[in-house]
């Protein structure tokens, strides 16, 4: 019988504590132990990016991290983007630029974009496409996602919300 381990982490600003098997992946901990099903599982080989979350501000693939590795860390998921029910500029940008079709890649894209805009507030198209290398989309052909991220940079600058 595997010994359960306690993990303490901050998720979207709230302190959470879970008792999990050491082998439990961070993505499953977020989805099933913490009920945050916005982060999706599209593969388990870190190829598709549907599971991207921020760990201490860096974009990571939560399907290839153990929950244990998030012990003591601050995790941000898609559920934490909106504030008081109001959509984050990145979320608004995705809606306005039709960057969503089936929606499965969307949370990972949003979190990846969030990390990108923090380090590079006004990326050009080439930089955005490079940053998106680790995130797959099968529906959109990417161009509206690229447009949404660039527009989000403008919106963030306007509203002063870098998050």
């Amino acid at each position: 019988m595997t010994e359960l381990r306690e993990v303490s982490l901050t998720v979207n600003g709230t302190a959470r504590r879970v008792r999990i098997e050491p082998r439990r992946l961070l993505v499953h901990c977020l989805r099933n132990d913490l009920g945050l099903t916005g982060t999706h599982v599209g593969c388990d080989t870190a190829d598709c990016g549907a599971c991207v979350v921020l760990l201490d501000g860096r974009a990571v693939k939560s399907c290839n991290l153990l929950a244990l590795q998030a012990d003591g860390a601050a995790v941000s998921t898609v559920e934490g983007l909106a504030r008081d029910g109001e959509l984050h500029p990145i979320q608004r940008a995705f809606v306005e630029k039709h960057a969503v079709q089936c929606g499965f890649c969307t949370p990972g894209m949003l979190m990846l974009a969030s990390a990108l805009l923090r380090r590079s507030p006004h990326p050009d198209e080439a930089e955005i496409r490079r940053a998106l290398y680790g995130n797959l989309c099968r529906c959109t052909g990417y161009q509206n996602i690229v447009d949404a991220i660039r527009y989000a940079g403008e919106l963030v600058a306007e509203t002063g919300r870098a998050r």
Partner: protein
């Protein structure tokens, strides 16, 4: 009666932001893995990794003893699991063989031999790994050509020559055409199997129970809940209306999620057997292994023409590899065959097709559904003919293409079940002009000579096609409640196409209420049992018309009742924002809700269901695509620099949503052209089982797609809508390969085998590299 559109909300044709998107961007949209199911058990399958085997030993004891395990079953433990899935198509002269949820006779890698149910997916996987299986491996049957020969081993012992079915079409005098031709070309084309690569792997959940006579409820990541319901009900011996299939949000489908699967039956049976909800979610590797696959055609085709390029006739033989089981009838080779006729004057054609079983994963339509194969072959032949006759490829197409005034155009090409293929409306010449203009074809051509001299290999490719869209039937129910709330229920499921938005736009335009106020239900067989599925580019056409007609009927009844209640003639009424008022007396009014309440009290609720099921549902869309690519002759790597689509999809409901479909479709065509291929080894084991090895386009690899709209309204449905979902892929595949051939024109390649791979281009380009090197050293090329 006058409807004030400024207060109604945008009508059909508006670029409305999608109503479903706030849920998606908040991470609040539930896919099948997110649906809360308290107490649900996790299901894991044990699958054979090789292509053909007999299970010699199956030992479940060790697995049964593992922690958290509720059950471990083999084929003998539950009879329904060992029975073949109910055949869905049952066409005469087609040998339809279906998989069993569990088997001891493995016919393709991925066939399940045991199933585990446990309290947690990790523990289910642990127990699955503890199932002891010993296989007697048998030689795999992989080549469909060999498989159809006399004496070849049989995938199914009762299907002679592994032939699942045959069909043929012929029109005109093909023999005479070839006899009098100035030039004939005869070529062979092949395509490997391809994977849909939906971002969400497949999944099913089932729970015993439900309301109103439902004894079993399923949640499925599917394009076609009615298909799943029929399959599961038949397999379990239940009445259709005892089974409810609910479709949560679906993370992409592209065709293979529109067919029924053995896992649906297994999970449903387990839920009933254990009396507990059960959920299965495929791992990505499992999804690669078990999701039905596209392509897999071998096409021998010949074309006959005059010296001036006028087409005289076409002959083709299609060999379709259907894999180990038939879950998609002969749809794929049929679409391929039908699209060999094209947008051209073609006086004679003879196309024969045979579908053959092999020990591979089963066939499904994948975006394009076979149309892209027919278009690929025809367009390659056109380009090669142009090369042979030294006519510009665009000019050759212009000489043969149908003109708008020739529509409706009866191709005289017989359809499989009667009648001929009639293109209802279209403008191939006009589309071609648009694409050529948008890509700046002349400039691309002019630049080529200098570019080649400088060792830059850039090419421009074009494709032109007609595209069959829509079929089947679709139901829409529109209901107005006492508070004026409008409910719209349609049958087929949304897998990313924005159905809530597009259908609400149509309903809103009819009823005069804002689209965001419409409560939209789709993919729930309890709410609407009539639907064929979201594939074949049919939803906008079929559900769009059903919705428009249902809403119109409701409005007409509401107008009649409102005019009675207000004591005016219907003509005097105006409706805006859900309120009927008399134009000349603005205080004399009644709300839609009040009308609904009065209707309900009179026992005639303001509700109607319209099933749109016309005789000739199929309507022909069209496309002309053009691309500029650059080939690196050192590496063979292709960069798609520019891409344009000129399309005719009839009436456009939401141009932004439509353009998204085109762009996404092109990306899939690009992937299939330049590298997507499923590879198995000599034992039938799947080698391309992850995104490392099966390479789909990433953000840096897909160009911007520019779109030119060129609508010719459909003549086959009241709203004039044509489908558009597959246009991008159908054109993308042919266009990109055309551009690559053109880029390497000095080599006069015939890139007939899909995918076109950089290794092969690099090898073929050796001559060009040598020339370039010689020139660089001052030598003679």
């Amino acid at each position: 009666m006058y409807m004030d559109s400024s207060t109604q909300g945008p009508p059909v044709g508006a670029r409305l932001n999608r109503l479903e998107d706030p849920d998606f961007v908040r991470g609040a949209a539930h896919f099948v893995g997110d649906v809360p199911l308290p107490g649900a058990l996790s299901v894991a399958f044990v699958r054979c990794p090789v292509g053909r085997a007999h299970v010699r030993v199956l030992s479940l004891d060790r697995a049964r003893g593992m922690p958290g395990v509720a059950a471990v079953l083999g084929p003998r433990d539950l009879p329904v699991l060992a029975r073949p899935m109910p055949p869905m198509n049952q066409e005469p002269n087609v040998a339809e063989r279906t998989p069993c949820p569990l088997t001891d006779e493995v016919r393709c890698a991925g066939d399940a031999v045991a199933v585990v149910v446990a309290d947690d997916p990790y523990r289910a996987a642990d127990a699955a790994a503890a199932v002891d299986v010993a296989y007697d491996e048998l030689p795999v049957i992989m080549d469909p050509r060999q498989a159809s020969q006399d004496g070849a081993p049989l995938v199914h012992t009762d299907v002679p020559n592994n032939i699942a079915g045959r069909f043929g079409f012929a029109m005109g005098d093909v023999e005479a055409a070839f006899a009098r031709a100035d030039v004939t070309l005869s070529e062979r084309f092949t395509s490997s199997q391809v994977y849909n690569a939906a971002l969400e792997p497949r999944g099913v959940a089932a729970s015993p129970g439900g309301e109103d006579g439902v004894t079993l409820t399923l949640w499925v990541s599917t394009q076609a809940p009615q298909v799943v319901r029929r399959s599961v009900a038949r397999a379990l011996g239940l009445r259709t209306n005892e089974v409810r299939v609910v479709t949560p949000y679906v993370g992409g489908g592209f065709g293979p999620k529109g067919r029924p699967y053995p896992e649906e039956i297994a999970v449903a049976a387990l839920a009933r057997h254990l009396g507990r909800p059960c959920r299965w979610e495929a791992t990505r590797r499992e999804d690669f292994l078990t999701t039905y696959r596209g392509h897999g055609l071998h096409i021998d085709a010949e074309v006959a023409a005059q010296l001036d390029g006028t087409l005289l006739g076409l002959r083709a033989h299609i060999l379709q590899d259907v894999g180990a089981y038939l879950l998609a009838a002969l749809i794929v080779p049929q679409y391929a065959a039908e699209h060999l006729v094209g947008p051209y004057h073609l006086p004679a054609a003879d196309v024969q097709a045979v579908a053959v079983y092999t020990d591979k994963g089963a066939l499904s339509p994948v975006r394009g559904g076979g149309r892209e194969q027919g278009v690929f072959v025809l367009e390659r032949l056109m380009d090669h003919l142009a090369r042979r006759l030294e006519i510009d490829p665009v000019e050759l197409r212009r000489r043969n293409a149908l003109r708008a005034e020739e529509f409706p155009h009866d191709t005289r090409y017989p359809k499989r079940y009667g009648g001929t293929i009639v293109y209802d409306s279209g403008d191939p010449c006009g589309l071609l002009d648009q694409a050529v203009d948008a890509i700046d074809y002349e400039a691309a051509r002019r630049a080529q000579e200098d570019e080649r001299a400088a060792g830059v290999y850039r090419g421009v490719g074009v494709s032109l096609f007609m595209e069959s869209t829509a079929m089947g039937k679709e139901g829409a129910r529109v209901e107005v409640a006492d508070d004026g709330a409008v409910t719209l229920a349609v049958g087929s499921a949304d897998t990313g196409q924005g159905h809530r938005t597009t259908m609400s736009q149509i309903c809103a335009a009819e009823l005069g209420v804002p689209p965001e106020r419409i409560h939209f239900i789709s993919g729930d067989t309890q709410a609407m049992g009539v639907g064929t599925g979201t594939f074949a580019s049919r939803f906008a056409v079929m559900a769009g018309n059903a919705t428009a007609l249902a809403a119109r009927e409701v409005l007409q009844r509401a107008v009649a009742l409102a005019s009675e209640l207000l004591d005016v003639t219907p003509q005097a009424l105006e409706v805006s924002d859900g309120v009927f008022h008399v134009g000349t007396e603005p205080d004399r009014k009644i709300t839609l809700g009040e009308v609904a309440r009065r209707a309900r009290e009179a026992d005639v609720p303001l509700m109607t269901t319209h099933v749109f099921a016309p005789e000739a549902a199929t309507t022909y869309a069209g496309g002309a695509h053009a691309a500029v690519v650059r080939v690196d002759v050192e590496t063979g790597v292709v960069t798609v620099e520019r891409y344009v689509v000129a399309h005719d999809s009839g009436t456009m409901i939401n141009p932004t949503v439509l353009e998204g479909q085109l762009c996404g479709g092109v990306a899939i065509g690009l992937g299939e052209a330049l590298g997507e291929m499923i590879v198995c080894d000599a034992r039938g084991q799947l080698l391309t089982d992850s995104f490392h090895r099966y390479v789909v386009p990433r953000a840096g690899g897909v160009p911007r797609v520019a779109v030119r709209h060129h609508p010719c309204p459909s003549r086959n449905n009241p709203e004039g809508i044509k489908g558009v979902g597959e246009n991008g892929t159908i054109g993308g595949l042919a266009t990109i390969v055309a551009a690559v051939e053109d880029a390497l024109a000095p080599l006069a390649l015939s890139l007939n085998d899909l995918p076109v791979r950089s290794q092969e281009l690099a090898a073929a380009s050796e001559l060009l590299r040598k020339r370039a090197s010689a020139l660089a050293h001052g030598g003679v090329a």
